[in-house]
Amino acid sequence: MKTDPIVSPAQQTEWLRQEQAFDAERGAAGTEAPASYRLIARALREPLPVDLPADFATRVARRAETAALLDPRWERRGIAVLLGTLAVLAGAGLLLEGASWLADLQAALPSLPRILNGWTLLLLAGLAAAQLPVRRPLR
């Protein structure tokens, strides 16, 4: 489509008539315009019934406020706080009980069945790694 279609004198005259009709229907005094364009301008100015519920604004405001509470940014911040708290607790537990956990582990290791030798552990680790979800690059 051409960006400015109103180039010829005839088109400019027609545009002027359309605009005069628009002005006349908006109440501009002394404006001459063809009756057909005035009729069109009048029809175009007829109110368009807004078919929304009377409490539309209240409902939408309530929904928007609820949606803001569930904003993913807040969700992400909450998860970060939770993970941070868990890390601090784990660190504190390790500091307080770490030595005794290590001693218990060392005591338990020799009694583990022979099946859990180095090669079996390696195989299990390999299988576990194969099950991890692979993150594909975004296209």
């Binding site: 489509m1 051409k2 960006t3 400015d4 279609p5 109103i6 005839a10 088109q11 005259t13 027609e14 545009w15 359309q18 628009f22 908006r26 063809p34 009756a35 057909s36 364009y37 005035r38 009729l39 069109i40 301008a41 009048r42 029809a43 175009l44 100015r45 007829e46 109110p47 368009l48 807004v50 078919d51 929304l52 519920p53 539309f56 604004a57 209240t58 409902r59 939408v60 405001a61 929904r63 928007a64 406020e65 949606a67 803001a68």
Partner: protein, 188 residues
Amino acid sequence: MTNPDRVLVDAVLARRAGAFERLVADHQGLCWHIIQRLVRHPEDTRELCQEAFLRVHQYLHQFRYESTLKSWIGRVAYAVALRHLEKKQVPLVDAADDGEYDPYLQEGDGFDLESAWADAELRDHLRAAIDALPPLPRMLLTLYHLDELTIPEIVQVSGLPAGTIKSHLFRSRLRLRERLQARLGETA
């Protein structure tokens, strides 16, 4: 003098009670006009109006006062309706609108405005002709004539160049005039 848009936006961003509700109430008419003229289906229009205002609430912190709040909200509504039409594969304009157009320009009309307006059948015919226009020109005519937005304001709402908007207004008013004259010719 305080910018009323800034006062309202600041109140919404500060989560003051009733502020967003007022924003919706102030602009729901324009939002309805834009979406209804593009989509037409009343149920879809209601849902899309709601979606538009939820987006306005979500992104209001990004409003930079480069346009009026009214134009910015209009732009959000336009984007929401446009995406809906794209999903439904509804064309915004007629393919014929893209071609060269050489209208037959006539001089006078030869009928009385007030008696024509009093003719309910003729008014219905005119309304039907407006409704039959493609979505984009139908919306542009409503923004220009009913909401009295200027062409630069419509540019801000639609993102279309001013020349394209002027072209749609010109051609669709010509088309309506042709239909009206054809109708008057039938009844004469």
